[in-house]
């Protein structure tokens, strides 16, 4: 042992320095890794008590939590179905708006637009991507809601539709930039072959480029939907925060993310409510893991599609 140590100490200085830096970096990376694992641990450890409690609680248990249709923290009733459906309603509605516009915009930017137009449009969309979500929420709450109220003749302009519109605007930049990567990855040689056969730009797009880029585009869409589901401020400020089960986009709903953020001021640490919020957080966390996994799977298929 000591001879090994002596061997180490006898090495030239540069090698020693190298070992030291290697070791230091290893420690630092270890800290990062530890932190990342910590996220998972904290979630689980704080969420689990809710299920353990559930076992003793007459009012709710795990099954009731997952299938309960009433979410009323004030009465200690925690059924997440209205929240899940609220999230789904808003996200799906947003996707219906965002997908056609997003893909259409992507095709426009990558294949049709004049280079000068592209030079303005691309940065503009990147700017859009960077706007803080609270600003979108503000817009929906104060500026969009009167319009919705008046156009549709409803009592309040903060509802699923409002959230969906603002979410759609948020989703589009991500969708555009990821889909654009997918479309640009299609080799130029394939397009040339198609043009040389007498096809026009649309025919080439439709039959050659889009099918080749499809997996990448689908992955982009899935990731955007994942972002929509995880979004908090927009749904918090624009959807009305009324946890009800409905398919009417003009109704107020509450999303999972809003439910976590809205009550946090009144939640006592260690109470059932507190643990339930973590349980919702875990569900969200797992959901994003699944979404990322699926998107990666699909995207991997597309990178093998051509040599």
């Amino acid at each position: 042992m000591t001879s090994a140590l002596r061997g180490l100490l006898n090495k030239p200085r540069s090698v020693k320095m190298d070992l030291i830096t290697h070791f230091t970096l290893l420690i630092i990376a270890g800290i990062s890794f530890f932190v990342l694992i910590l996220v998972f641990y904290t979630l689980v450890s704080n969420a689990l008590p809710s299920f353990i409690n559930f076992g003793n609680n007459e009012v709710t248990d795990l099954w009731n939590f997952l299938t309960g249709e009433i979410w009323r923290p004030s009465s200690d009733i925690y059924g997440i179905v209205p929240l899940v459906l609220g999230t789904l309603l808003v996200s799906l509605a947003a996707s219906l708006i965002a997908i056609p516009i997003g893909i259409g915009t992507t095709i426009y930017i990558s294949e049709i637009a004049h280079p000068r137009v592209r030079g303005i449009l691309k940065p503009a969309i990147e700017v859009l991507a960077g706007i803080p979500s609270v600003v979108y929420g503000l817009f929906g709450l104060l500026i969009l809601s009167p319009y919705i109220r008046d156009i549709f003749g409803v009592g309040s302009g903060t509802n699923a539709l409002n959230g969906a519109i603002m979410l759609a605007i948020m989703m589009i930049p991500i969708m555009v930039s990821l889909s654009e990567d997918a479309i640009n990855a299609v080799p130029r040689s394939l397009r040339e072959a198609s043009y040389a056969l007498g096809a026009n730009r649309w025919e080439t797009m439709r039959a050659i480029v889009l099918p080749a880029a499809l997996s990448g585009i689908v992955a982009a869409i899935i990731l955007s939907i994942g972002r929509a589901v995880g979004e908090t401020m927009v749904v918090l400020m624009c959807t009305g925060n009324s946890p009800q089960i409905t398919a009417n986009i003009l109704d107020s709903v509450q999303a999972m993310t809003s439910a976590i953020a809205i009550d946090v001021g009144e939640v006592a640490g260690g109470s059932l409510h507190y643990h339930v919020l973590f349980a919702i957080g875990m569900i969200l966390f797992l959901f994003t893991l699944v979404i990322n996994f699926i998107a990666d799977l699909i995207a991997a298929r597309y990178s093998e599609a051509y040599r």
Binding site: S189, Y195, L197, P211
Partner: protein, 253 residues
């Protein structure tokens, strides 16, 4: 020597931004012959051949002046629909570029776009094209497999079949064998000689032996200019210009 012309090129000039890639090229390309375009790298051979089916239109910085008459019509006339031109003038590229689809779909793609919809017609066209490209026997049992499963040489013949499917009159080949091994190359050269019976063939090649083997006429380009053009035998055995002789004897490029 050239009895019936198919393609007449007149004062063709191509600029890419400031670069003058093709200078005042004029020549007549004969029907049902194989014409080879040779010259050192960067001499403008690919640029030239891409003018004939207006593929240079796809490059934003390209500016083409002059005209190219095919069977009497100037293909650069603004009233002409470029997708029609490319139906008549096909192109096979340097690196085989089959679509990520089945063999059948690769060939059926273009006829479908140009109007042929019925299954029986498409089947017929696919078989005919594959036979003409000397590929039918090798793939007839796996038309529904991916084109990417084929070897390099087979893929290139597939690309030729794909072009034949829309019955062009002229086929342009841009260094079609440079990505292939000698055996695959030989197969394609035999195919070219067979094709010239029914089509006009223009082939760009950096391989002089290939030009000598297959071409009836050869044009030598250098730095964007057409230096010499004549029957292959004359050009190689009795070149008129010094530059031509230098290139052929290997002292240049």
């Amino acid at each position: 020597m050239i009895k019936v012309t198919d393609i007449t090129v007149n004062q063709l000039n191509v600029h890419f931004d400031k670069a003058h890639a093709l200078k005042d090229v004029s020549m007549k390309i004969g029907k049902n012959k194989i014409t080879a375009i040779i010259g050192p790298s960067g001499c403008g051979k690919s640029t030239f051949i891409r003018c004939i089916n207006r593929m240079n239109d796809l490059i934003p910085s390209a500016r083409v002046t002059g005209d190219v008459h095919v069977d009497g019509t100037n293909i650069y006339d603004p009233r002409v629909d470029v997708t029609d031109i490319r139906k008549k003038i096909g192109m096979v590229f340097q690196k085989p570029n089959p679509f990520p689809k089945t063999i059948f779909e690769n060939i059926a793609y273009a006829p479908r776009i140009h109007g042929t919809r019925r299954k029986e017609d498409l089947n017929r066209i696919v078989e005919r094209s594959l036979r003409r490209a000397a590929l039918w026997e090798e793939v007839k049992d796996r038309l529904n497999k991916s084109a990417y499963d084929l070897s390099g040489g087979q893929q290139q013949r597939l690309c030729i079949a794909r072009t034949l499917a829309i019955e062009p009159e002229i086929i342009l080949f841009d260094e079609p064998c440079s990505a292939l091994d000698p055996i695959a190359t030989a197969k394609i050269e035999d195919l070219l000689i067979d094709l010239k019976k029914d089509y006009t063939v223009v082939i760009v090649t950096h391989n002089m032996q290939q030009a000598a083997r297959v071409a009836d006429c050869t044009a030598f380009f250098y730095l964007g200019e057409l230096i010499e053009y004549g029957s292959t035998r004359d050009l190689f055995e009795k070149p008129e210009k010094d530059l031509t002789e230098q290139y052929i004897t290997g002292r240049m490029g």
